[in-house]
């Protein structure tokens, strides 16, 4: 395997129970169910899709692999290992292999097996360490279980350990989040993702808010909470390298999510599974969202994956430039002018005028040819981005 780097993503859309805030595509599943019915069908189809794209995998250097979902950790370890080895026959720690895990679906044993199979990064979906919040969110685990899972992961050999948290929750004060984070920090994770809650329509949580049973904090309160969290984490030695992501260590932290950075650096990635998105040669395509369609199309004779949607921003045009710039600006590295100017020679001059205007309005920083968003504006970044459109 050689050639240009490629990030690979696999989607496992099964969960024990749907959380109250989730609007993702997911289906009921369990470790037992993996050997029968829908899950089995899906996994079979997924394997076939991997086989289909083998030529692509062979022509590129797989730089990162990411198992996301749903709850990938629902799958038996051998299934996960098999899938991984089809993509990366010889995993080594030079290639980041991430598994998303939900506390309550892993054990010390399973985690150890996974580590041995080649998984070297774990992203644990914790969301909160307060029982009332966990209950409101509909999580299947307790705070204690979450902490235990993290300890087990470390014991199993995962030194690259991330935790996900939510804030801006109904009834959550700034202090509540800080307490959760302080507890989290005591477990010494190497990475934290901190997401502001975005209430999606038709979720139980949205309905609870709409009916008045729960009420959201104000924008000001959430902004204050974010600020406090950033200060806490930076004070504890984390690099705030993307709007919602923090990695331990001096910048540039070795614990940044390499896979996600591919997205923010406008790199190429291959998405496998239901609803997965690929971005190759300036062409973005998304697999079907329909389980039936996906399973059926991955019949033994299939020659191609059923695509739901595709779009092309074009490799050199203004649309692509805008997208790329905006993605870069989500990170603390921003983008290097010379780099974009070289790759988008026609569009960049006009784009630069926009950058200049933003600069004059104090909405963007520029240092030595590198443009980035002032961290104080991360939480209103959309306002800057839309001025670039």
């Amino acid at each position: 395997m050689s050639g240009k780097p490629l990030a690979v993503y696999l989607h496992i859309p099964f969960c024990v129970k749907k959380c109250a805030y989730c609007d993702f595509l997911s289906f009921p599943g369990s470790p037992e169910a993996a050997s029968s019915g829908v899950m089995r069908q899906y996994l079979g189809a997924l394997v076939r899709e991997v086989k289909l794209v083998q030529p692509l995998l062979d022509s590129r250097k797989v730089a990162t692999v990411y198992f996301g979902g749903g709850t990938p950790s629902l799958l038996p370890v051998d299934t996960l290992a098999e899938l991984l080895h089809r993509i990366l026959p010889n995993p080594d720690d030079g290639v980041e292999v991430t598994l998303e895990a939900n506390p309550g679906t892993v054990s010390l044993d399973s985690l150890s097996s996974l580590r041995r199979s080649g998984f070297n990064r774990l992203s644990v979906g914790v969301q909160s360490l307060r029982s009332d919040e966990l209950k409101m969110l509909g999580r299947i685990h307790s705070a204690a279980q979450a902490k235990e899972s993290v300890r087990q992961a470390r014991q199993a050999g995962f030194s690259n350990l991330s935790m996900d948290f939510l804030f801006g929750l109904p009834g959550q004060s700034r202090g509540d989040l800080i307490l959760t984070l302080m507890e989290a920090l005591s477990l010494e994770p190497t990475h934290l993702s901190l997401y502001a809650l975005s209430l999606e329509k038709r979720t139980p949580l949205a309905r609870a808010v709409a009916s008045g049973r729960l009420s959201l904090p104000t924008d000001d309160e959430v902004a204050d909470t974010y600020q406090a969290a950033v200060e806490l984490l930076e004070g504890d030695g984390f690099e705030h390298y993307e709007i919602s992501n923090f990695a331990k260590g001096e910048p540039p932290s070795p614990f940044r999510s390499r896979h996600n950075q591919v997205y923010w650096h406008y790199g190429e990635y291959l998405g496998l599974g239901l609803g997965a998105v690929s971005f190759l040669e300036g062409f973005r395509r998304r697999n079907t969202n329909s389980l039936e369609e996906y399973a059926a199309a991955m019949g033994t004779d299939s020659k191609s994956v059923p695509i739901a949607a595709a779009s092309q921003t074009g490799k050199r045009g203004m649309a692509a430039l805008r997208e790329e710039a905006i993605l870069h600006l989500r990170t603390s590295d921003g983008f290097v002018e010379a780099d974009l100017a070289a790759r988008y020679p026609k569009a960049f001059p006009r784009f630069r005028e926009r950058l200049e205007k933003l600069y004059q309005d104090g909405l963007i920083w520029q240092e030595g040819g590198r443009w980035r968003l002032p961290p104080a504006l991360y939480f209103v970044s959309n306002q800057v981005f839309l001025r670039l459109l």
Partner: protein, 601 residues
């Protein structure tokens, strides 16, 4: 023969039964039968029917066979009954020789009864009082008779008691028209003099002119001349009105009818003008009548900027058939291009707005009506300004004067207190109080026109349980302590939102305006300061803090396309904003500030 012609109209206060009476007359003279009777036929527009009022008058000829066995021609000219339409009424009266004065026996003499009666008497018409609605339980004919005598100083001993609803007294009315209204007394052999008392535009025939022929006659083929402009036209058609136009070869002295003469536009005819023959012109014109100036203004803007040309066209078409509507282009930074329109009154304004919206399919924004101010500058120049944004700097102004009206309120005694309070709250000064039979009072107050523009009439009615009636007339311009209130956003005055008002109301209004605006401007990337100021003096202030949250928390592979689309939508939303300096203000914010908001006022 002129002897057998009677030209008359029916005047009354609103809802006293004028239209029902007209219907009965039409019925009794055979113009309508059971089959083609449509409720109150003379009111042709939906809007009129809906509001239950008559807007556009048009005449109708009736044939009457009297008790003394003679045939008469009645020309009934219908008139509007609302205070706004005094002008329309006087035009109709000028074509008549007599008037039926209808008074509701349960309401008695009310404001418009007086106004119309005085108009008719001034013009020398024979006035026949008709006491209507005697069928009602609450009717009090005797009291009404007394009121008529006392307030109008006419002999009501021979007032006709009638009920247009059940047909009582109709025969008497018809006979009274014959016996008590004088026939026309023009000279058939003299040069043609015909008074134009109305007109409308017909897409096939051009302008149709409504005339009362006073002297002489006019035939198809003749060349007529407008005495005011000197322009000549060839007569294509003449005739009279039944339910529609009925042509005839000639119109003679004493007759009321119409004339079509390939007149292309209404601007070529002047209502009140005299028509004569080109080859044998009359010496002098007939006395016309006073042209009434519009008293109420408002801004009319298309809800969507781009539709301005359509609004202009709609106003043009509408004004062809409504000579009292005036409009001129104006613009505001907030609303773009629109028109400042002048109306005879609030009802006129309402009707025009509704017609524009319905018949011409316009989506409108109406800005609060304002009046013409007279600004006296220190250097002696006097400016007439109808748009607050056009006011000169305060330092240049010596004083400002606003139009005042004399308002006449007729109300039962027990409501005098609330009525006086109402007037005082609207900067009124007491004029006169006169007691009338039936425990009623005629209250006269001098009020600024600006005070009665929107809700005065409503408050009048609700403060008197509907018993009060109002009539008003322009009086004069009087100076008042008026100021111009500017609304500033981050230091920039927003033209469209400035307002002229009495100094004593400035603070309260400024507070409300600033609060309202604060609620409708979204948070920006910086702090926004909203101020209300008079000249350089800030009297109200609100702050909008900077935006703190507008972020896409998660953005990974699968999200990008969808999230870019969301950003683009946000961007589109921004486009619909108006920029005031660096502050983005949604159209809705302006609308909420300038739109007429009657509930709130």
């Amino acid at each position: 023969m002129q002897e057998n012609i009677r030209n008359f109209c029916i005047v009354a206060h609103i809802d006293h039964g004028k239209s029902t009476l007209a219907d009965r007359l039409l019925e009794a003279t055979g113009l309508m039968n059971e089959r083609n009777m449509q409720e109150q036929v003379l009111d042709s527009m939906d809007l009129e029917r809906e509001k239950g009022i008559t807007i556009k008058s048009h005449p109708v000829r009736l044939d009457y066979h009297s008790q003394d066995n003679r045939d008469y021609i009645f020309n009934l000219i219908d008139t509007p009954g609302h205070v706004d339409f005094t002008y329309e009424v006087s035009r109709a009266l000028a074509a008549c020789d007599g008037a039926l004065l209808v008074v509701d026996a349960s309401q008695g003499v009310e404001a418009q009864t007086l106004a119309n009666a005085f108009l008719a008497m001034d013009l020398g018409l024979d006035v026949i009082p008709v006491i209507n609605k005697i069928d009602l339980m609450s009717a009090n004919p005797e009291l009404t008779r007394k009121e008529i005598e006392e307030t109008l100083l006419i002999d009501a001993a021979e007032a006709i008691l009638a009920s247009a609803k059940d047909g009582t007294g109709i025969k008497e009315v018809l006979e009274a028209i014959v016996r008590r209204i004088h026939p026309p007394q023009g000279d058939l052999l003299a040069p043609l003099r015909a008074l134009i008392f109305d007109s409308h535009y017909d897409s096939y025939k051009g302008v149709i002119v409504y005339v009362r022929v006073v002297d002489g006659s006019v035939r198809v083929g003749q060349m007529i001349q407008m005495m005011a402009t000197g322009q000549s036209f060839e007569v294509m058609e003449v005739g009279h009105f039944r339910l529609g136009l009925v042509s005839q070869p000639e119109l003679k002295a004493g007759e009321v009818g119409y004339l079509a003469a390939t007149i292309k536009s209404l601007s070529e005819t002047k209502v009140g003008d005299t028509i004569t023959l080109a080859e044998r012109p009359a010496e002098g014109p007939l006395p016309g009548f006073r042209h009434v100036k519009p008293m109420v203004f408002c801004g009319l803007y298309p809800a969507v900027n781009e539709k301005y040309p359509e609004l202009r066209e709609a106003l043009q078409k509408l004004s062809l058939n409504d000579a009292s509507l005036i409009y001129e282009p104006e613009s505001s930074p907030a609303l773009g291009f629109g028109f400042r329109c002048g109306f005879l009154g609030l009802l006129h304004m309402d009707i025009v707005q509704q017609r524009l919206e319905r018949e011409y399919d316009q989506d409108l924004v109406a800005t609060a009506p304002s009046v013409n101010y007279r600004v006296f500058l220190r250097n002696g120049v006097v400016l007439e300004i109808d748009n607050p944004a056009k006011f000169p700097q305060p330092e240049l102004i010596e004083h400002i004067a606003e139009p005042f009206v004399k308002a006449m309120i007729i109300v039962p005694q027990e409501y005098v207190g609330p009525m006086m309070e109402l007037c005082q709250n609207h900067r009124g000064s007491f004029g006169n109080m006169e007691y009338v039979e039936g425990n009623r009072v005629i209250l006269t107050y001098h009020l600024p026109l600006a005070e009665i523009l929107l809700d005065f009439y409503d408050q009048l009615k609700s403060g008197s349980r509907g018993y009060a009636s109002l009539d008003y007339d322009f009086e004069e311009y009087k100076p008042y302590e008026l100021v111009k209130l500017d609304i500033l956003v981050n230091g920039r005055p927003v033209d469209a939102l400035c307002y002229i008002l009495p100094a004593e109301k400035a603070y309260e209004h400024a507070r409300k305006a600033v609060m309202r605006l604060r609620r409708s401007i979204p948070r920006q990337m910086f702090e926004v300061i909203i101020q209300g100021a008079i000249g350089s003096r800030v009297i109200a202030r609100e702050t909008i803090k900077a935006k703190r949250k507008d972020v896409l928390a998660k953005c990974y592979g699968g999200d990008v396309t969808r999230k870019m689309k969301l950003l683009e939508k946000q961007k589109e939303g921004k486009k619909r904003m108006k920029q005031v300096g660096n502050v983005e203000i949604p159209q809705e914010a302006f609308l909420s500030m300038v739109r007429i908001n009657r509930e709130e006022e």
